[in-house]
Symmetry: C2
Subunit: 346 residues, 2 copies
């Protein structure tokens, strides 16, 4: 285990800055004395784009590469045309650093709100493919803006890309007590990509005889997310379906304020990047209303990825205890961060 962490920090837009500050506070508090934490902040996002027109210059991409991990707040602002920062910064990072495992755990903690009656027992993790599918930016528009316009979006899928993420998901399922893995796709309509996913899933599955598998179409999966979420253990799915399912998963497990994610490059060739699932929420930026818990849970994923399992678990336990102890009174971003930093302190 390395006893130093070189962390790149991209606070980004809106509430990004605020939640990242709390994430760093908790990180500092949980780390053993002898671990040296070096952080370097990167000024990327809407402000930078307005000032310079840049989203992610090559020099900064190179510089980011020199770190052990990246902590990202949130990217996006209504003042920037939709897609510019998403494609030019967030997705560019995920693709450049080959973050093929987009890991999104969902757990319904006690004493948190869920729109679901009966509070089912929810504890699953979505392994979302992160570098292929409809997210490749492949497509175009012809005769743009005219009545004769044609626009395409191409979902690109490779056996190489699918097998590695499916294998990662089987490993994760195999390491969990219930050992269950569900493939979600839409192979009755998207037959080319869908059948490839299913065939690879079946083939790799034969190497994991202890893992129970099943398959759901994405539309049916959304039904089970609200009627029977306890049936899920690990889910593996494509980039776009994973995007949709993990927002829904967040909604049924305490809301987007608690949903953490890791954009992971399991080979270690590039730094992995950790970020809350929520966006930049410009409407509440600066009000102190942002819940930093999702970012703090993302820090736990970051620590686990770097080999600090004890510290990761300590954060997760602190979050569970903190939520359990809540009395319903509103707390500021800072107060939640302070409470969690105190709980994890060694």
């Amino acid at each position: 285990m390395s006893r130093s962490i070189r962390l790149a920090v991209i606070p980004g837009d809106g509430i990004g800055q605020e939640v990242v500050a709390q994430g760093l506070k908790v990180l500092t508090s949980v780390l053993p004395q002898d671990v040296k934490l070096e952080t370097q902040e990167y000024d990327l996002g809407a402000k930078r784009w307005h000032a310079t027109g840049e989203t992610l210059p090559d020099a900064e991409l190179e510089s980011l590469k020199q770190h052990d991990a990246i902590l990202l707040g949130a990217i996006g602002d209504p003042s920037v045309p939709s897609g510019v920062l998403e494609r030019g910064l967030l997705l560019k990072l995920r693709f450049a650093f080959d973050h093929f495992v987009n890991l999104r755990p969902s757990k319904l903690f006690p004493n948190t709100s869920t729109p679901l009656a009966g509070r089912p027992d929810i504890d699953f993790v979505v392994v979302r493919e992160g570098t292929e599918g409809p997210y490749t930016g492949n497509g175009g528009s012809l005769r743009t803006g005219t009545p004769a316009e044609v626009a395409t979006e191409v979902s690109l899928n490779t056996a190489y890309g699918v097998e590695r993420v499916v294998r990662d998901a089987f490993e994760r399922a195999n390491a969990r007590p219930r050992k269950k893995l569900t493939l979600v796709h839409k192979n009755n309509v998207l037959v080319y990509a869908g059948h490839m996913w299913k065939n690879i899933f079946d083939r790799v599955g034969r190497e994991y005889p202890e893992v129970t598998t099943d398959y759901l179409h994405v539309d049916a999966a959304t039904i089970f997310f609200v009627t029977q979420p306890e049936r899920f253990d690990v889910i593996v799915t494509d980039n776009l379906f994973g995007d949709i399912l993990t927002d829904l998963a967040a909604a049924v497990t305490g809301g987007i304020g608690l949903a953490a994610s890791g954009n992971i490059n399991p080979t270690g060739e590039f730094p992995s990047m950790f970020e809350p699932v929520h966006g930049s929420a410009p409407d509440i930026a600066g009000t102190g209303k942002a819940d930093p818990t999702a970012t703090i849970l993302s820090v736990a994923l970051l620590l686990r990825h770097l080999g600090y399992e004890t510290e990761a678990a300590r954060i997760e336990q602190a979050v569970a205890a903190d939520l359990e102890a809540r009395d319903g009174s509103a707390r500021s971003t800072d107060e939640i961060g302070d409470a969690l930093a105190a709980r994890v302190a060694g």
Copy 2:
């Protein structure tokens, strides 16, 4: 108004046969004496495919065209490779008959179950594009089955196709008391198609100053489906997003046993097709457990489309009253059909 209805009936697979029988029972019961109903049944689906290898021969497509409308039960069986019947029969019909408006109303009736705590007031309709997007079958697979396989799925979108469905949705929103229309897409990632949808939506919207509009990314929309479904009135969206959202909508409004749909060709050039949103449910076929209500509500949509507004409303009121009167004891497919046929009888 025509005083005869030439109806094509495709019972299909699994519970399709059973629910369609109840749909026809209620249709016969609600129609005024002087309306002549001529039905013609088509043997299409899994059994036919196993027997002959055919999904939808040209002669039958031609013959179906001669009808005023089509009532379809459900298509699909695990014994048939995934995609064969969906692409070769169901989607073939939607595309051949230019069903560009896939209409899917969602309403939470009293005394029905919802997984949502607090029983929000849900009453919206999704206008799902039916002839474009990722459903066109455009794509392919290279080096199939090898480690070097590449599979693509191409989402095709045209200004022609988007404008007509967006216009239809504005008309529907304008005719409803709340006059609200939400566009759902993912234009921060699928920038080519997404921006075209948004630009056309904004442009057509200027012709409907009384309609309030908003835009949501599909992932965010799923959150609101479970946390704030009452915010929706009319939703217009792409073929795949509509598929996903309407299953989720069904799940939060009494379940898939109540969700009706119409595949509508508004120009009247081709017959429109009405079907429950649910599938063929082979696991309960023959047990009498299938709920025919979704099919019966689809018959209401069919009648409205053909100009029988009074009869359509009568069915919808009967369903509401029937659900309200339920005492929780299980009823068979037949019993529900009988109860509704009795309620709508003139």
